[in-house]
């Protein structure tokens, strides 16, 4: 460069490079020539981290009944390099009761790098896993005969009851994805794959411990490093207390046997889920240990889809149970009063016929009692026709309905795998019929809970809890220790509107569709529903709560393709209420009859 006044700076930069390399050479000289300690450490005391697995947290029900615990299992590992020439394969096979061929086959598998990417002759490789104590007893006694062989203890999940599989979830081996996402896991670790096991994975898993051991050049363990100063003991996982009532859960599973359906029970005041049943389900024990992947595949291919948690994921039209919400919204928005009368001409009514015979005209309480379709059509029509443009009143109605937790997932909860259901938006109808192409009459089915409206059983139960609470709900959840009071959702509906709806629901159980299955002393309130199903027989639906004065339990039951809500869903709910409030079911015959009836032949017991 001409006139480059900074020419000399090249020497500064070169000097910096030389200086850095010099410093590093001095450091290398220190590490490799002067410092003797590293040589000893490397030759004699190479460090190994040995992982100690913590026991996973236990899971209890609301009454402290143990639901999920751990059983010890054993794993046999082999370090190929330490197995000398005179290693007695025959004796080893005898100890484990396996054939020579199986042994050789397994060895080939271990050494195949394509299947076992982390293979090294120097590190322990898993030879057999998930063995019971009986399986390894003989080997344990004679372990000293087989250098390189080690027995490692781990734990597997075990279950007290064959119930609540969907809620509890299961534990399985971590995927590569999990390992990439969370440094805690290494290949071969276990973690919660679904349900509560997954939601509370961090709490349940505890913390792995580490033993820092010294090992010699041959890889043999020489003892603990620095007297165990660096060791970290494993921290057991924290136990989880759930809100479930296992007796209630088991009763509901028993009653739903042979049917496809679900039942959800909630304590209204707290939002605690008392039971969450989806049938078909499976015995949680089948998704544990060696059999897990095989059984999982079977469940996956079962045409009745047992892996799907219908209680939170299946969506149904709510049918007549929706009339409760319809009443509240129409009252709040002033379309009707408790004294408003509408005429009904029974099955001859238009545009929606009534499925019951009762006097006419009717007021709201009797309309709920008799599930009068024309009444709710008229109320809905009057609500929507108050404005020339249907969009505004419809939006207002939709927002009011969604307050009940419909048409959306519960976000502030520990329930995984929910569906949001659907409350159709004005955009949907605009798209379908054109902006001015739809009127109240077009969407009349909504008035009685049919049509485009879809809800999950969990949302139905929550809806019952809203009515029981007279105007609020707490997001349904499963962890007892989680104070969910902050998750209180207040509905914008006056408290006094609930009185007439509750009265109507009480009458359902005394005079109406639910009267056959009421227990007088329990003061139940409820509403049956029969959801039309374009694919087959109607779905039977029931929501209810008890006792009316001070509700302790709110229930929703759905039985697919069962016909009338009053015949199949109502008795299940009624017995669940009885079980929860009195601790037993006195109606033994009814219990046997419902529990033993098979409505769907293809439902299997897993």
């Amino acid at each position: 460069m001409i006139n480059d006044q900074f020419y000399r700076r090249r020497y500064v930069i070169s000097g910096i490079a030389v200086l850095i390399v010099l410093v590093y050479i001095v450091r290398l000289f220190y590490l490799q020539i002067i410092d003797q300690s590293t040589k000893d450490q490397a030759d004699n005391n190479a460090l190994v981290k040995h992982i100690i697995y913590p026991s996973r947290g236990l899971i209890y029900d609301r009454n402290g009944e143990l639901l999920v615990f751990n059983q010890p299992i054993y794993e046999i590992t082999m370090t190929m390099r330490e197995m000398g020439k005179d290693w007695d394969t025959t004796a080893f096979c005898r100890c484990l009761d396996i054939s020579r061929e199986e042994f050789d086959e397994r060895l080939v598998e271990i050494k195949d790098r394509r299947k076992n990417r982390g293979y090294s002759r120097w590190t322990p490789q898993v030879f057999m896993s998930q063995l019971k104590k009986e399986d390894i007893a003989t080997l344990q006694e004679e372990l000293f005969l087989f250098p390189g062989v080690d027995i490692q203890k781990r734990t597997l999940r075990d279950y007290t009851y064959k119930a609540a599989a969907h809620v509890l979830g299961s534990v399985g081996e971590v995927s590569q994805n999990d390992i990439d996402r969370d440094d805690y896991y290494i290949r071969g670790d276990y973690s919660g794959r679904d349900g509560l096991e997954r939601t509370y994975e961090k709490q349940l898993r505890g913390e792995k411990g580490i033993e820092v051991l010294m090992r010699d050049v041959k890889g043999r363990i020489q003892g603990s490093y620095q007297d165990g100063e660096l060791d970290r003991t494993a921290k057991a996982g924290t136990d989880l207390y759930t809100t479930l009532d296992i007796r209630l859960q088991m009763l509901a599973e028993e009653l739903l046997a042979g049917k496809i359906g679900s039942a959800v029970a909630i304590e209204p005041k707290t939002g605690e889920i008392l039971a969450l049943v989806s049938n078909p389900g499976w015995n949680p024990k089948v998704l544990v240990g060696k059999e897990r992947s095989k059984n999982y595949n079977k469940l996956l291919h079962d045409p009745t889809k047992p892996l799907m948690n219908r209680a939170t994921q299946a969506m149904y039209p709510p049918g007549s149970t929706f009339k409760t919400i319809q009443s509240l919204v129409c009252l709040e928005q002033g379309a009707i009063t408790p004294n408003t009368l509408y005429p009904c001409s029974g099955p001859g009514s238009t545009p929606i016929k009534c499925t019951h015979h009762h006097g006419s005209p009717v007021a709201l309480d009797r309309a709920i009692e008799q599930s009068c379709n024309p009444y709710f059509w008229c109320a809905f029509r009057d609500l929507l026709n108050r404005d020339k443009d249907i969009h505004k009143p419809y939006e207002k109605w939709r927002n009011a309905v969604m307050q009940f937790g419909l048409g959306q997932k519960f976000t502030d909860t520990d329930l995984a795998e929910q569906s949001s259901g659907s409350i159709p938006s004005t955009q949907l109808y605009d798209k379908f019929y054109g902006k001015d192409g739809w009127k109240a009459i077009t969407i009349r089915s909504l008035s009685i809970g049919q049509g485009e409206i879809l809800v999950t059983p969990l949302q139905l139960a929550n809806q019952a809890a809203c009515i029981a609470n007279e105007g609020y709900y707490i997001s349904p959840h499963l962890n007892k220790n989680d104070s969910m009071r902050i998750h209180r959702h207040n509905l914008d509906i006056h408290k006094h509107h609930f009185e007439v709806v509750k009265e109507g629901m009480n009458r359902v159980m005394i005079y109406g569709t639910g009267r056959h299955y009421a227990v007088d002393s329990l003061h139940m309130a409820g509403k049956t529903g029969t959801a039309q199903n374009p694919h087959g027989r109607d779905h039977a639906i029931f929501i209810g709560f008890a006792p009316v004065e001070d509700p302790q339990i709110a229930v929703a039951v759905v039985v697919e393709n069962a016909g009338f809500g009053a015949t199949w869903a109502c008795p299940v709910a009624s017995m669940m209420i009885e079980q929860y409030l009195t601790g037993e079911v006195k109606r033994r015959d009814l219990r046997r009859r419902i529990g033993e009836t098979v409505l769907n032949e293809s439902v299997k017991k897993w």
């Binding site: 006044q5 930069i13 490079a17 590093y24 290398l28 590490l31 590293t38 090294s120 002759r121 970290r232």
Partner: protein, 487 residues
């Protein structure tokens, strides 16, 4: 005439550099094989192991090198800004296209291979900076002239840190300071960097240690004494009056002496006294700068006042801004924490592995530390461990000296350019290689905190190898064309 000037690309290209490049790549490949070799491993070409994969990367890089040399040299200059814009867009998009690998969002999958766009960003930024600063009318006169170059390196660095969470890849851009320095940026900027690092280390390392007398911490006191010394140095340098230094130093000692005396009865807050001294000296500097009309001294006063705030902020940054794993790495490095099972594990194992190599090493493929997988990341960021263990002191020094020769050769190439923009680019290349060498080897030797950046041409990985190849071969192409430039 024309023919001899421009000539054939194969005659003009710098074969010495290509030779060093080939040596480094080949030796790196051998060591990757060594690092992932587990005693009964298959061939070095087996694609199921890392060395086999690296072989394909190397072939790719050679092809890339040849193509880069065949392209017209003007292309690089013409495309510089366009490529820079495209690169910014790609960096912005990366986190959304990437999948999360241990908290970092910097990898894009293209079929079977994953690439790290940040590795290629260095080269493109270097080209853009070279183009901007190489303009005929450009010269660094005031700090304003540096705004654009700083923005050119700062924007991609920020994107990489904030969006991709790859602090290591972003720090590399600091290497451009050397480039700016060569082009006329004040040398004080480098000193300020040194001061910033020194103050940070002192205040973190000794900030928690209480003084034996009075109240206050060793860290704060040392920082302030350092600042006071800097102030006195500048006052006297400008004045050319040695006696004043003695008076100033004497009065500082006097203040401390009086404080020690008072401390017998009352606990003296020594760090505040020290801050007071620095402030007083700063005020004095302001006074004389106005009195002697040496306004440059105002900057010294401003700098020392700023540094007082900086030492206070260090602790906050360390505790609140840095992520826990970064904090622990620094604490381990400074010897504040021993954690051979956790964060210190890598560093400790690396030290053992290198140390056990002794003078001649254990011999190729005979290292035990790297074999037993005691050293994590042994074929990527910690590859130098394998060199140290298997080739010993001799081999390690050899590798370092080859790198040094390589960097000095790049500086040589830079200095022989007639075109300023090529010269700037060449310096950028040299600085980036120097930075990588310094940080990577310093980390392995336990002299610097663990920052995950690769050792050029050595570490396993396609992105880094290709990124460095791009950087180097564009320079070789530009250099080969130097004769075509008119003086």
């Amino acid at each position: 005439m024309r023919a001899s000037r421009s000539g054939n690309i194969w005659q003009n290209v710098d074969w010495i550099t290509i030779g060093i490049f080939l040596v480094l790549v080949f030796f790196g490949w051998l060591n990757i094989y060594g690092a992932s070799y587990t005693f009964d491993q298959t061939s070095i070409f087996d694609f199921s192991n890392r060395a086999g994969k690296q072989f394909t990367w190397i072939i790719g890089s050679l092809i890339m090198g040849i193509i880069l040399l065949l392209i017209d040299y003007k292309t690089y200059d013409v495309l510089a800004y366009f490529a820079y814009g495209a690169m910014l867009l790609l960096l912005l998009a990366t986190p959304f296209l990437a999948h999360d690998i241990k908290g970092s969002l910097s990898w894009i999958s293209l079929g079977p291979v994953s690439l790290q766009p940040a590795e290629f960003a260095k080269c493109i930024v270097a080209l853009a900076v070279a183009k901007y600063m190489g303009r005929y009318e450009y010269k660094i006169r005031t700090w304003r002239d540096l705004i654009v170059p700083f923005a050119l390196i700062g924007v991609p660095a920020l994107i990489i840190i904030v969006l991709q969470k790859e602090t290591g890849s972003a720090l590399v851009f600091a290497a451009f300071l050397l480039v700016f320095y060569r082009q006329g940026m004040s040398g004080y900027v480098l000193w300020i960097c040194v001061a910033a690092v020194a103050l940070f280390i002192i205040s973190i390392r000794f900030g928690g240690i209480a003084l034996p007398l009075g109240s206050g911490s060793v860290g704060m006191l040392s920082c302030m004494l350092l600042l006071a010394a800097v102030e006195i140095y500048f006052i006297c340098k400008e004045h050319r009056m040695r006696w004043q230094a003695l008076i100033l130093i004497g009065s500082v000692f006097l203040v401390y002496g009086i404080c020690l005396l008072i401390n017998i009865w009352v606990t003296v807050p020594f760090d505040w006294i020290s801050v007071g001294i620095v402030v007083a000296l700063a005020l004095y500097t302001v006074f004389i700068s106005i009195y002697w009309r040496k306004y440059i001294l105002l900057l010294v006063a401003l700098f020392s006042l700023f540094c007082i705030g900086y030492t206070q902020a260090c602790d906050f940054v360390f505790q609140k801004v840095l992520q826990p794993h970064q904090r622990i790495r620094i604490e381990v490095l400074l010897g504040m924490k021993e954690d051979p099972a956790g964060a210190g594990y890598n560093v400790n194992q690396a030290r053992i592995a290198i140390g056990s190599g002794r003078f001649l090493g254990k011999g190729y493929l005979n290292g035990t530390q790297t074999k037993l997988q005691f050293v994590p990341e042994q074929d990527t960021d910690f590859i130098f461990c394998t060199v140290g263990e298997e080739w010993g002191f001799v081999g390690s020094i050899g590798v370092l000296l080859v790198y040094l020769f390589f960097i000095l050769r790049l500086i040589e190439i830079a200095e022989r350019q007639r075109n300023t923009s090529t010269q700037i680019y060449a310096y950028a290349v040299a600085s980036i290689f120097l930075f990588h060498l310094t940080i990577n080897v310093g980390m392995v030797l336990g002299l610097l905190p663990v920052i995950g950046i690769p050792l050029p041409f050595f570490s396993y990985g396609g992105s880094s190898l290709w990124g460095f190849t791009l950087l180097l071969f564009i320079l070789l192409r530009l250099d080969a064309a130097r004769m075509e430039q008119l003086r």
